[in-house]
């Protein structure tokens, strides 16, 4: 009768309780992706807000400036990019806010999984439901601005690449300001200067496509910016979250 001695049972229980740190990071990352996707799908307004903002701004410009197609075509690349950038910025504040308020964020920080990987999953969901839809919507809005044919694919591609960098960089700011009750303005001030290189090369790519120049260089630089952001941002976001929670 191996289990009859209560002492032995207790010992076995204690051994079962005590754990070595182990893997499972993949499971945790997948679960975080799924959770955030489900959360955002259930709060559609949060997903739609940036898209509606983007559409409204682009609709108002021809009315406010002039319906002249030639004038619109010259400003279209910059306009589309600036509007998409601001729309993405608008959605950043909520990235960690609700998790901070309901206590999930401290649980995320206390999990034995690598925090940079977990926040990367959160940022990926943000891009999937903000940056990617913006990129897909931009060509349609481009028609309203009389964007010359042939630049639509480049517009969507540059926005898809660029918005991923924007999400990653923006998440650092969002993580730094999550502890502040009114962090929105500070977030914009922190993040906008870092957005400028992405804006220059993103709008530049579309511009180059219109003039029939090579777009590869611009897109390559956007890709390089994204690669750097992918490598560095998750660690910066994780560190920023730790600072915010500490305050």
């Amino acid at each position: 009768m191996p289990n009859s001695d209560p002492h032995l049972v207790q010992q076995a229980d204690a051994v079962r309780l005590f754990r070595e740190p182990e893997g499972g990071a993949g499971v945790a990352i997948r679960a975080t992706l799924k959770r955030d996707l489900v959360l955002l799908m259930r709060r559609r307004s949060e997903v739609l807000n940036p898209l509606v903002f983007f559409a409204l701004v682009i609709t108002l410009f021809p009315i406010g400036i002039s319906p002249d197609p030639e004038l619109l075509a010259t400003i279209a690349p910059g306009l589309l990019w600036v509007a998409a950038l601001l729309a993405a910025l608008l959605s950043l504040d909520s990235l960690f806010r609700s998790d901070y308020e309901d206590g999930s964020l401290e649980q995320l920080l206390l999990s034995p999984q690598p925090l940079p990987a977990l926040v990367l999953a959160k940022v990926a969901v943000h891009w999937l439901l903000t940056g990617l839809p913006l990129a897909l919507m931009a060509p349609i809005l481009g028609i309203m601005l009389a964007l010359p044919a042939g630049s639509y694919a480049v517009l969507a591609l540059s926005l898809a690449l660029g918005s991923a960098s924007l999400s990653l960089i923006g998440a650092i700011g969002a993580a730094l300001t999550v502890g502040l009750s009114r962090g929105g303005v500070l977030l914009s001030l922190l993040v906008l200067p870092l957005y400028i290189p992405v804006l220059i090369f993103g709008a530049g790519a579309v511009q180059a496509a219109i003039f029939g120049e090579g777009v590869a260089a611009h897109l390559a630089i956007l890709g390089a910016l994204l690669a750097v952001a992918l490598i560095l941002a998750p660690w910066a976001i994780a560190a920023s979250l730790r600072i915010s929670i500490n305050g």
């Binding site: 207790q10 010992q11 229980d13 204690a14 051994v15 079962r16 309780l17 005590f18 754990r19 070595e20 740190p21 182990e22 893997g23 499972g24 990071a25 499971v27 945790a28 997948r30 679960a31 975080t32 959770r35 489900v38 959360l39 259930r42 709060r43 609700s98 308020e101 309901d102 206590g103 999930s104 401290e106 649980q107 995320l108 920080l109 206390l110 999990s111 034995p112 999984q113 977990l118 730790r242 929670i245 500490n246």
Partner: protein
Amino acid sequence: MSLRLQARKLACERDDRWLFQDLDLDIHAGEIVRVEGPNGSGKTTLLKILSGQLADFDGELYWNEQPMRRTRQDFLANLLYLGHAPGVKATLTPLENLAWYQALAGEPDDEPARFAALAAVGLVGFEDLPAGQLSAGQQRRVALARLELIPRALWVLDEPFTAIDRDGVADLEARLAAHARRGGCVLVTTHHELADTPALRRIRLGQEARDAEL
């Protein structure tokens, strides 16, 4: 297989006021340690420091005789922290909430275990409702289901009895006692009077503040 959380010369200052100074702690397996003190005496801050969330303090923490800095990963793998905020997403159902916590803890995905954990905290029939539609006490119970679901040696619980009804309080108290008997360890703040057992130990905070006033 040891379980030992130690703090040496712990001191924490907030807004030019020492919450506690020269606090030495030695917490072993099989103990229920209750942190007591009036509001604002630093109970939550102490729990956050001991669970490795705050770095803004003086003193040293040791986990199993090793400095916490070096054993943080090992410490986190054995910690279950329940804060003031329950950490329950209002738009997710209790099952979905627990599924995330299970994955986050590195546990295998196990739906029957989640149902069992919710049943253990008296939430049968509420598994598939959005947690936002549950009462405050029920949401707290969803958070408490993690105690059942995720086997961890060290429980750090900040006011776990908040919003829980009388039966729930008795249940939870029994669960804490059972955990200590099994060789686990509980660190808890509460205004609820815990039954005196040999496993129970008290730490009082806020004494200095009051002495200074006298």
